[in-house]
């Protein structure tokens, strides 16, 4: 009997995978017009991969939406177009063109305003225009303290706002998807995954990710202890070549690299196992004010 019980055991990753696939299918079944937010990072790659699995052999029945700030790494754009085409995914891109025309960038208006315009507003406008009633996001509870409080089905009011004090209780795997017109649900199928789970899964499943995650010699400048990559000849004299990689990817102005020799998947995972800093330490925007992630989420950022 013990051996039979043993043969019906799922590994940790397979259990997480089954839970996430269940969530993705539930949304496809219960909502009229879902969309999957695709930010081109490692979590997005995993989430898209799970969606492909959930509906195999059929195509993923909803579009992927990239809310593009215009300041992502060039490698990310290249990867985005390649990955979605390769996997037969329907990609939509939305940018806050008006803000970009006005020249809004973090150096000019500061990170708080820049995020509000290019991320939060762009996201809310895109969701509004698309008439989406559910939007998948790749956020994980282990990333940040306010994300640790997030439900898997997270209710947003007509203005896309989150009220952390009044979240719907969420029991077992019974998700409440009832909403009124104009309201929406943000869905986080990777809630229970950790950064280490994500990399181990990417390794096991052979999922493709942006090459920036792997260590390489890159031209950077050092700013407040962060290694900010250089793409123009602006900072030619300060710039130096450093063996580094990115643990998380955002806009190139606001995302620092970490010194690392991890140029293969097993090396990355090994590095992860002994990491002493959170992955988001390199994200300038998380540290621009107290409770900044919570504040952004309240306003509609995912």
């Amino acid at each position: 009997m013990a051996s039979e019980e043993e043969s019906y055991r799922l590994s940790n990753l397979k259990t997480l995978e089954a839970e996430s696939i269940g969530i993705i299918r539930e949304v496809a079944a219960e909502f009229e017009n879902p969309v999957m937010l695709y930010s081109v990072g490692k979590d997005s790659s995993v989430m898209a991969h799970l969606a492909i699995k959930a509906f195999y052999p059929k195509k993923v029945p909803f579009p992927l939406l990239h809310v593009d700030t215009g300041y992502k790494f060039p490698e990310m754009y290249e990867f985005r177009d390649y990955y979605t085409k390769e996997n037969n995914l329907y990609l939509k891109v939305h940018r806050n063109e008006e803000a970009l025309r006005k020249g809004i960038n973090p150096l000019f208006v500061g990170t708080v305003k820049c995020c509000a315009e290019l991320k939060t507003k762009a996201l809310l406008d895109a969701l509004n225009e698309g008439g989406y009633d559910a939007a998948f996001g790749g956020a994980r509870r282990d990333e940040e303290k306010s994300r640790a409080k997030e439900r898997i089905f997270s209710f947003r009011d007509k203005h896309g706002q989150w009220n952390p004090k009044d979240q719907k209780p969420e029991l077992w795997n019974l998700f409440n998807s009832k909403i009124d017109p104009g309201e929406s649900i943000r869905v986080f199928p990777l809630s229970n995954w950790t950064e280490l789970d994500i990399w181990t899964y990417i390794y096991h499943e052979n999922i493709e990710t942006v090459p920036l995650y792997f260590a390489n010699k890159r031209k950077v400048i050092e700013k407040n202890g962060r290694l900010i990559p250089v793409y123009t000849d602006e900072h030619e004299e300060e710039a130096k070549e450093v063996m580094c990689r990115f643990r998380t990817l955002g806009c190139h102005y606001c995302t620092g690299a970490v010194r690392s020799e991890a140029d293969t998947m097993p090396k990355i995972i090994e590095e992860m196992m002994v990491a002493r800093h959170s992955e988001r330490i390199t994200r300038v925007i998380d540290h621009d004010q107290d409770s900044s992630m919570e504040q952004k989420k309240r306003e509609g950022y995912f």
């Binding site: 799922l10 940790n12 303290k145 409080k149 952390p164 029991l171 019974l174 409440n176 009832k178 809630s191």
Partner: protein, 516 residues
């Protein structure tokens, strides 16, 4: 890289314990979790630094461990936990997901949220205060939700001079209370979260305590079992269909095991078939088990939709028309008897009404007392009348087919969590009646009438197709004379195939003009 590969493999195979914290407000839950994470080196340095800075600036202390989990601004301002925080940590022996839940009575529903997926409850008791109402309420809710393992951390022992007598009297009081519950194991640990006694390190202050430290206990407690591998239940979640080439039923196996080639029955139609394929992205499987998310294909082409249940022909869930259930009421709006509520059960959402409150529980002592309705945070047993039957089991036998949530249709709020304790079956015929497919015949000259009826049926949600001679002449009966035997046989065959798959046919043809 061989070394790291085996490390990765090893890391995958260590098991996972999901546990929920519970207890009264201010008994130090967040501090204990913070301490557990801190001492097991699971807090990243940058996060720790920001906690230390905040502690110095706002709390006048070196480090306030509760800041590790109380992540919301309003929580830090008020020094209380409002919502569940999910925390992850691992030791070489085990991985943990902690649902750190609020103690405040106002947020009891969030405690239930955290406990519903946990297999162990960590109950905190302040040694100075002993067993409180919230301790009892949370223990009781955990027990109702099916948690069978409890570890009771008697905290703040430093404030009662590490007294063995205080500890013993709390153990006795708690044991008297839990005698009425069906706990499999209860383990008591005297500790101080603030000072770190018996959390990770054994305490020199309590030589009289010979048991495990908290971390030791959590790493080694055996919580296996409770998984139902006998009764195969597959609530259909999503029908994956693309033209004629593929028709699969996606879902998560609620319980049990299924093998390719096994005979199954589908509820509510009652039709039987055989599993022809178990499809996954990695390729077809020979067998699958709970909680795998798979896609099943059947040998016969029958009409199956979301909310239908696939089970073994001789091991079916009950077809439930009315039931009794334990309920935790979570909405600020009190329950209304006789009002239509939505009930979400597996992948099915139906309407139902509360007919009575059988009794409610007094959280002080779990005594039953009469009540007319339940209000926020009340726990009781109720009777529910369902407008459409569901396919269910008793919660204690099958967690996923025995649980449901109540949704208020006016506010869309999740109003309650329910656990089925008793049911009344309806006959399978009655459950199937609504979906029994039939052929509705109209002689050729009643085309308008036939089309009107088809429209009406479709509007009502009946699965049906419309067929008349024009349709037949273009397809199946091209070139076949209406009055020939071949023509009428073709029609009979067509009707048989279509109705067998659960779809009704509105048929308008000249061929049975004379006979009808």
């Amino acid at each position: 890289m061989k070394g790291s590969e085996s490390l990765i493999e090893q890391n995958q195979n260590i098991d996972l314990l999901r546990f929920a914290t519970a207890g009264s407000v201010d008994d130090g839950k967040s501090t204990l979790i913070g301490r557990l994470l801190y001492d097991s080196k699971s807090i990243f340095e940058d996060q720790l630094n920001s906690i230390k800075n905040y502690s110095k600036a706002h709390r006048d202390q070196d480090i306030d461990y509760s800041l590790v989990t109380d992540g919301l601004k309003s929580e830090r301002e008020q020094g209380i936990t409002i919502d569940v925080a999910y925390r992850f940590y691992s030791t070489p022996k085990r991985r943990f997901i902690i649902a750190d839940t609020p103690g405040h009575e106002q947020y009891t529903r969030n405690m239930a949220t955290g406990a519903s997926n946990a297999s162990l409850a960590l109950i905190l008791i302040d040694a100075r205060n002993g067993v409180m109402t919230q301790t009892r309420r949370h223990t009781f809710i955990s027990s109702l939700l099916g948690i069978r393992h409890f570890v009771v951390a008697v905290n703040k022992m430093d404030l009662v001079d590490y007294s063995e007598e205080v500890f013993d009297s709390i153990v006795n009081e708690y044991n008297t209370f839990t005698d009425k519950l069906s706990a499999e194991s209860i383990y008591f640990i005297p500790l101080s979260a603030l000072k770190g006694d018996n959390v990770i390190e054994r305490s020199d202050n309590m030589p009289w305590y010979q048991g495990s430290t908290l971390l030791d206990y959590l790493e080694n407690v055996n919580v296996s079992g409770g998984r139902n591998l006998i009764d195969f239940r597959f609530p259909v979640q999503y029908v994956n269909w693309s033209g004629n080439d593929f028709r699969g039923y996606c879902g998560t196996i609620s319980s049990g095991v299924i093998r390719k080639g096994e005979k199954v029955r589908v509820l509510p139609s009652g039709k039987t078939s055989e599993i022809s394929r178990i499809v996954t992205y990695e390729g077809d499987l020979d067998y699958a088990f709970a909680p795998m998310a798979v896609t099943l294909c059947l040998k016969d082409d029958i009409d199956i939709s979301r909310s239908d249940v696939i089970a073994r022909a001789h091991n079916l869930p009950a077809i439930v028309g009315s039931m009794e259930a334990n309920l935790v009421w979570m909405d600020a709006e009190p329950m209304e008897i006789g009002k239509d509520y939505l009930i979400k059960h597996t992948t099915n959402t139906i309407k139902g009404q509360f007919t009575e409150v059988v009794y409610m529980f007094d959280p002080e002592d779990i005594h039953r007392k009469p009540a007319d309705f339940l209000k926020l945070n009340d726990i009781g047993k109720v009777s529910i009348e369902l407008k459409t039957p569901i396919f269910a089991d008793i919660y204690s036998e099958n967690k996923s087919t025995g649980s449901f949530i109540i949704i208020d249709p006016h506010t869309n709020q999740t109003a309650a969590a329910g656990m089925i304790s008793k049911y009344k079956q309806v006959s399978p015929d009655k459950a199937c009646e609504s979906v029994k497919a039939r052929v509705i015949r109209y002689p050729g000259d009643k085309k308008a009438e036939a089309q009107a009826n088809y429209d009406r049926l479709s509007m009502q949600g009946t699965h049906c197709i419309y067929v008349d001679d024009d349709v037949l002449f273009e397809g199946l009966c091209k070139g076949v004379p209406v009055d020939s035997e071949k023509y009428s046989n073709t029609i009979e065959n067509l009707c048989n195939i279509v109705t067998r798959s659960g779809v009704s046919v509105v048929l308008c043809s000249e061929c049975f003009n004379d006979r009808s």
